[in-house]
Amino acid sequence: MSVVQRSRPPGWRRMADLKGFSFTVPFALGFALFTIVPIVMALSESLYTERSSGLGFGGRTTTFSGLGNFVRGFEDGRFWGSMGRVALFAVVVIPIIQGASLVMALMLDAVRRRLAARFRVVLLIPYMVPGVVATLIWIYLYSPAVGPLTPFLALFGIDANFYGGELIWMSIGNLMAWSSIGFGMLIVYGALQSVPTEVFDSARLDGASEWRIAWSIKVPFVRRPLVLISVLSVIGTLQIFSDPLLFRSMTPETVNKDFTPIMMIYNQAFAEGNFNYAAALSIILALIVGLVSTVFYKLTDKVPA
């Protein structure tokens, strides 16, 4: 058998590369405009400070302060308090959400495909609801005055204040789980579908129970998607904003203005007009989110043995 080789014009490979790259141009432009440019602007803003003098009425002068805003940020107990609060929340809520996503995906995988397709859509509905709308729905459900949950629990003698200091994180965590479990489940379920069925058949022939198959075959196969959604959850949780902001309107006694890092940054920038300091805090937060995500990814993303 002979192989016919067509002659290609010189530089064809470069042209092909350019054609391929051109497909990414729309994204690259958007990324540059809405991500790179704001980051550069934030970096620039963070190096300056606005100062007043005298009684503070003579206007402000903007002076170069180098890393002054960053030093202030690293020494700001409120910022690190909010960071610690959110980190603790993430340590508790993320494993619960990932565990629930995995269990639901395994259960979905265990039923017939037609039935699974129906459940899949229903379980995904909360993820389709916009975050602010979801928060408003739950704020109503939690409301001790007009919501249905408080009187319902009272029937069983439970006096639950979803807005109180003891339950506020549980209330937010429940909302977050409600919104995101469907998404996590869908990713894991998709990964499960790609596992070759021969592997299960062999395991069954060898006498493995369904539990054993799930634990020893399915879970290792979905490890990578689990890591992916965990990293996304870490990033999302450290940047949590709209949920606590809306809860604050209902319960300012519990959710203060610096409750989460982004709330503090938002308050500095848009309530107090302190853009320079807010920019520095944003960059510190971005670095921490990047660092935590990288470490988490390195520690967990190992090829199954």
Binding site: E50, S52, A145, V146
Partner: protein
Amino acid sequence: MWSAARRWVAGGMALCLLGAAQACGDGPEAGGSGPVVVEMWGWDPKYAKVADKFNATHDKIQVKYVKQADNPTTATNLRNVVKSGDGVPCLVQNFGELPGLLGEGLLADITDQLKPHVDEKKFKDSAVAAAEIQGRFHGIPTGAEPAYMIINRKVYDQYGISVPKTWDDVIAAGKALKPHGIQVMNLAGEDPSLLEQLVQLAGGTWYSVEGDSWKVSFTSAESKKAAAVLQQLVDDDLVANQTYQDRPALIAYFDEGRMVSLPTNVWQLGNYQNNFTKTLGQWEPIALPQYRDAAKYTTPAHSKPMIVAKGCPTLAEATEVGVWWSTSKDAIDASFDEKTGTYSWPGAVEDPSPWAESAVPQKLFGAYASQAVDVWLKAAAAGVDTWVVGPNYTAVFKELQDQWAKAVTKQITFEQLLENMQRFTVDDLKTQGINVAGS
């Protein structure tokens, strides 16, 4: 590939669009012969009607009213345009304390334009104070609503409690009502205005100027006097903490007859009347309680003037619009709200009586309705404004909200609140390079 003809058509269209955009950008002021256009921002639905009235009654100046979404959006938008220097409006509905906004560099100095109107006594004295900072005017006086209270008289009578005249009476009423599951007041976690009012009633202020420095007085005797009243109300569990954000829940709670005294504004009454069902006719307007040792009846009348933005190119015309807006009969008449049947309270004028009667919610007050105008006019006449705030009050108020939320839920005491606020305010001023006395 585009043909040459299509390129010409597209180019021509682009030119047309550019021309149209240019035409839009030219206001009547650009020509020099037409009226001067004063741009105004606000979120109050009534503002559009008042602007229309101005335009219908004036030739040389026209108001271009640009509706904003809400208070925080207006603040953000104004900060952005003042910083960029492009598209700055002249008049803006107030979203904060004037000294704080001046400290941010958002305000114009309109002393030359406003002073003649002040000298002509177009505004009542208590309205002018808030617009004046260090002898210069930076906003159009708007005046305050009268400070008063409504009580659920039926519940008071039911338990044989007399109408409270002092804050001690309010505490005593709270103690008498508590065994019946009734709370005497509501202290919403986001609203520290009662603390500010009580400090003013005691004759105190949190800021004052000493030479070229600020003196911060959160821990003054007057503040502690106010704190003592609030501490007793909270310690003895005499108050509720219903938020104003959850309106349905709040209305339902007020209407249950389990919360019986409410310092409020005139503009709120229409909402209460429209939404209450069970307690209509039971509410009585009464004078704001005083301290037992008060020398005379006064009400806090600190107000938030209309903003004149830095960068406004037509200060004289903007001031003329602002003065008309606050003081003219036409403007006040145009603020009529069909839904509630009331006008914006004319706090800047000496005699608000022509518009007071319409504000009386007959169904809400029932047999007590005839007392309302008298209560309001006396409260307005007794209004004093000795309240001074510093250039960092925007940040301080946010912190005060957080501290207040903790104090009303017993996480800290009100004295601790005052100490925390003293520390926060002094530190914040110093961080900004502003002089603070005694430090």
